[in-house]
């Protein structure tokens, strides 16, 4: 009677339904967790009135959103305006199709009910390709809103995502060289302690530089703080989200959180061994738990970053992406290719990567010190009071500085 369950297509459809349900639930509770964690970090309580610890807050929010009026501005291009949030969500969900969530159920024998929807041999490229389409939801939504703020937000988003996608892809290619495969399952298996392809290390050990670049570019890709320029409230009145309300607004939020989960899942899979944990993953079912813990850690990192860092300025964003991350990513590829091609052990690659990360941090630190000590004008260096030392004054026009007069500064 249950013979139809042996059909690969039936299995894929049921697994997809489970993954979509899990992702949507995770989105709902991520909003609550984020608000609670950020509140904790800022010495507030956060939403705690609906149910114990506020655990029914997402339900209340969902009901509110469902009954809210969905305004369609008269200036908007209606068809595209309605379609854009849907594109965002569909694309975000599709990317999760190739993420291996856990080990095979019985031993190392693959079956159609393994916790992964589709193990295709270009898995990581599928994720990159599909998530590169995510920008359309934002660009089209902003353009179709018929609002200048929305348009500016969407243009920022397009420029930002194209700029950081290059660094993101290059940062991953170092790991792919070590793994020697593009399949997500193959990449996890390459990090196992056993098996024919297992190398016994998590690739973070060989690719610290790649990991740092990937995380920075990943945060920029999902438009999260400190790279949330496309939806900056103070500058753009929420950017591409300005005209959206009700369910369509929550679709955009959904896409953002699901993209966060995807970025976290890729980071865990490519750099932290996916569902493996030093042999513990051989116990049936435990591998899924291990994977979830790893993803949860990276999601916490996203929240932590948002609570800690101020938004980066637009020109700084572009400079960071093109002049720092991209050259470093290329350097990482060159080093990794050399090490892999010459058959050197992984720790040479790891040490080189760590040295570069440390060097760049030192360079940034020394430059910040230089800036903090004071402003140099034609009349000499004016020392800055401690409260404004993070401010930086830059030359405007022909080297003239916009800076406070000497007598205005009390040291």
């Amino acid at each position: 009677m249950l013979d139809f369950l042996n059909n690969a297509i039936v299995a894929a459809v049921i697994k997809s339904a489970i993954v979509i349900f899990a992702l949507l639930t995770a989105f709902a509770y991520m909003t609550l967790i984020e608000r609670r964690v950020v509140a904790k970090m800022q010495g507030r309580l956060g939403p705690n009135r609906v149910g114990p610890f506020g655990i029914f807050q997402p339900v209340a929010d969902a009901v509110k959103m469902a009954f809210k009026e969905q305004i369609i501005p008269t200036q908007s291009k209606v068809a595209i305006y309605v379609l854009a949030p849907v594109i965002s969500v569909v694309v975000a969900l599709c990317a999760f199709a190739v993420v291996p969530i856990g080990n095979s159920w019985i031993g190392d024998k693959p079956s159609i009910w393994d916790p992964i929807i589709g193990d295709i041999n270009v898995g990581i490229l599928w994720i990159l390709g599909v998530s590169s389409l995510a920008v359309y939801g934002i660009v089209l939504g902003g353009w179709a809103s018929g609002n200048r703020y929305s348009l500016l937000g969407s243009l920022r988003s397009a420029a930002q995502m194209v700029s950081y996608e290059t660094s993101l892809g290059l940062a991953l290619s170092g790991t792919l060289m070590w793994a020697g495969t593009l399949s997500m399952v193959g990449i996890v298996k390459a990090q196992l302690l056993y098996g024919s392809t297992g190398q016994g290390i998590w690739f973070i050990a060989a690719q610290p530089l790649g990991f740092v670049i990937y995380m920075i570019a990943g945060v920029a890709e999902v438009n999260r703080a400190p790279f949330d320029l496309p939806e900056a409230e103070q500058e753009l009145t929420a950017g591409y989200l300005t005209e959206y309300s009700g369910l369509r607004w929550s679709l955009y939020q959904m896409a953002e959180y699901i993209n966060m989960i995807t970025v976290s899942a890729i980071a865990s899979t490519l750099f932290f061994g996916g569902w493996s944990f030093f042999g513990l993953e051989r116990i049936p079912g435990v591998s899924i738990l291990i994977f979830l813990v790893k993803v949860a850690f990276f999601l916490f990192l996203f929240i932590w970053l948002r609570a800690t860092l101020p938004r980066i300025r637009y020109d700084r964003l572009m400079r960071l992406g093109w002049q720092l991350l991209l050259p470093l990513a290329v350097l990482n590829v060159v080093i990794t290719a050399t090490v892999v091609a010459l058959g050197w052990p992984w720790w040479i690659n790891g040490l080189a990567g760590l040295a570069i990360v440390a060097g760049v941090l030192l360079l940034v630190r020394s430059r910040t010190r230089e800036i903090q000590s004071g402003i140099s004008t034609r009349e000499g260096t004016i020392p800055m009071p401690a409260s404004v030392r993070l401010a930086r004054f830059e030359p405007v026009g022909d080297g003239q500085l916009i800076a406070p007069k000497k007598q205005d500064i009390k040291v």
């Binding site: 295709i120 270009v122 089209l140 969407s154 397009a158």
Partner: protein
């Protein structure tokens, strides 16, 4: 009619229709969207032929990167015409570029004049044929082998051609 044929006809009609949309839509953004659809249909064609790598790269490069830039420009049509006569800010780059170019020419000539054996493997039959490589090593590996061994010279020449085209577009754009 088999399933493959049916899907081919559906895809063919859809891609031609969306391609027609590119040139018939009055609104530039609609044309661009139509072009994205066409490119996605082409990716499905590749998928139908079993060329998974090319299909995904088609989405990644054309739909994901190039068309985003198209849309960027189209949505911002009223772009400010800023013609800044920038001086050459990195004067030593010509020397470095010249030397690196010579290295590239040398490497390519070496490949071209000594690598005929590799080139023939791309056209060979039996154990060395492309179909065999795809079957034993997979799509991506076969593509990489063909691209960087048999077709390394045309590949590099094409990239050079594209760079020249970009430079030409820049020169034309600056005069306008």
């Amino acid at each position: 009619m088999t399933g493959v044929q049916l899907s081919f006809y559906v895809l063919a009609v859809a891609s031609v229709a969306s391609a027609l949309g590119v040139i018939t839509f009055k609104n530039a953004v609609h044309s661009a969207l139509s072009l994205i659809l066409t490119l996605l249909f082409l990716a499905l064609f590749y998928l139908q032929l079993g060329a998974m790598f090319i299909a995904i790269v088609q989405i990644l490069i054309y739909a994901g990167a190039i068309m985003v830039l198209f849309l960027f420009v189209v949505t911002m049509l009223a772009s400010e015409a800023s013609d800044s006569e920038l001086a050459d800010r990195i004067p030593w780059q010509r020397w470095v570029a010249g030397i690196l170019g010579l290295v590239l020419v040398g490497a390519l000539s070496y490949l071209l004049f000594t690598g005929t054996a590799i080139d023939s493997s791309a056209k060979a039959t039996g154990a060395n044929s492309l179909a065999h490589v795809v079957a034993t090593q997979g799509n991506t590996e076969a593509f990489g082998l063909a691209l960087f061994h048999g077709f390394a010279f045309p590949f590099e020449v094409t990239s050079l051609l594209i760079i020249v085209a970009i430079l030409g577009a820049m020169v034309l754009g600056r005069k306008a």
